[in-house]
């Protein structure tokens, strides 16, 4: 007895959404975004941290409109479907720390789960290690859930609290219009821009923003989540979200083949390094963090747009984590891992374990 049937949340719906994201991401690369990085939530949050000066790695500074579009698109979709609901208060500090550990792990690998798929679809063999790490990390997370892990219940919040995230994002978007990039300059008003490197590679503003809004809308409706895809498969043998995950990979691969963007190999892949163990370990930490926090970085953005303040806290944890990752030499580069990357992986894993073991409830609700 479904009242208003949500077509996006059906089996066909999730496959269509995954496929559309795959095609659009590959197209964004053609239109100017960095190689195998049509959409990367971790990298783009990191670029935003650079754009507002939280780190000063001059090659990764750009206020990515895709990310802004994700939150706003989801906000509009949630309002339209009457699903916007202001909620929060479920272990905010733990979620903030998980956002940090997820981001630091992802920047050791150089990509979020979305980019893991896009790197595979571009022929980057190093992403196989990242994918393996992601799967193992999520699997470890499921072991905690089986033991009764929970960050606790969220509470209803005021409507104003739910509006904060969309308003903050609108504010960032306003800054992008007030201080647009100036040819040859690395600063425009309060915003920083990259003159070279991945931060300088971007599709035109309105295309990036438009695709971001569209993806935000359809992802909110379909509940698209790359971490949930692996988690539900491992935990419940449920293929629903995983079919969207596979559709993204397949559609991006086909689009890359058509556009001549498929270059198989391990060496000289765009914005990637070849240190297999650290590709694996970085993504393991990221996958573990996403599992404990209940969503991949894209899903956290979408949930923050529908009024989930806890997801908003996770997003700010990610942005803060990105700042530390670049300020402290934790992030990798095409030359290899950062000087303190290994220590960062160990410390982040430690914090994940503390949060995991520290939140196992013996008496289930």
């Amino acid at each position: 007895m479904e009242k208003t049937r949500n077509l996006f949340a059906t089996g066909t719906g999730i496959i269509a959404v995954g496929a559309l994201i795959g095609v659009l991401a590959a197209l964004l690369q053609k239109l100017g975004n960095p190689g195998n990085m049509g959409i990367c939530v971790a990298c783009f949050d990191r670029d935003i941290a650079g754009a507002v000066g939280m780190h000063r790695a001059d090659v990764v500074q750009y206020l990515r409109p895709e990310i802004l579009g994700f939150v706003l698109g989801s906000f509009v979709a949630a309002l339209a479907a009457r699903e916007f609901k202001s909620r929060g208060g479920s272990a905010p500090l733990a979620r903030f720390v998980l956002g940090m550990t997820a981001m630091i792990g992802a920047l050791v690998f150089l990509g979020c789960p979305w980019r893991t798929l896009l790197r595979l679809a571009g022929g980057d063999g190093n992403a196989l290690l990242g994918l393996a790490g992601l799967v193992v990390g999520v699997w470890i997370g499921t072991l905690f859930f089986k033991q009764g892990y929970s960050l606790g219940r969220s509470q209803k919040q005021s409507f104003g609290t739910g509006l904060l995230m969309p308003l903050l994002i609108l504010g960032l978007l306003a800054l992008r219009f007030i201080y647009p990039p100036v040819e040859g300059q690395t600063q425009s008003g309060v915003l920083f821009y990259s003159a070279k490197g991945p931060g300088a590679a971007h599709a035109p503003l309105f295309i990036s923003l438009g695709i971001g809004l569209l993806v935000g809308f359809i992802a909110q409706r379909s509940r698209f989540c790359t971490m949930g895809a692996l988690r539900d498969l491992i935990l419940f043998r449920q293929w629903h979200l995983f079919s969207g995950f596979l559709a993204l990979l397949a559609a991006a691969l086909v689009t890359n083949l058509v556009l001549g963007q498929f270059h198989p190999g391990f060496e000289k892949q765009p914005v990637a390094h070849t240190q297999a163990f650290w590709n694996f370990a970085g993504m393991l930490v990221a996958g573990f963090s996403f599992a404990l926090a209940g969503g991949c970085p894209g899903r956290q953005l979408f949930m923050s747009g529908e009024g989930d303040a806890d997801a908003g806290v996770f997003v700010f944890g990610m942005i803060t984590g990105a700042a530390f990752a670049h300020n402290f030499g934790l992030a990798s580069s095409p030359a290899g891992i950062g000087p303190h990357g290994p220590a960062a992986v160990a410390v982040c894993l430690f914090f994940c374990l503390v949060i995991g073991f520290g939140n196992i409830e013996r008496t289930r609700a």
Partner: protein, 71 residues
């Protein structure tokens, strides 16, 4: 006689985990599940159907949904 699973305020995968463990425990009969968001309603219904249970009733009360699952 239905037992109640209160999954309000919990995020995925916890509502589904709670319902699955209750389904395992009961094997038949009815379970009432309370959720407070559309995503949990969809996920719980999908998971229950995959286990051969049906959603017999769905009532919305304000911000909450009461689902009656039956086998």
């Amino acid at each position: 006689m239905s037992e109640i699973v209160d999954a309000r305020g919990l995020s995925c995968p916890q509502p589904v985990l709670l319902v699955m463990s209750k389904i395992k425990e009961k094997a038949s009969g009815e379970i009432e599940v309370i959720v407070d968001n559309e995503v949990s309603r969809e996920n719980v219904s999908r998971a229950a159907r995959a286990k051969g249970w049906e959603v017999r009733e769905e009532r919305r009360q304000g911000d909450e949904w009461h689902l009656i699952l039956g086998q």
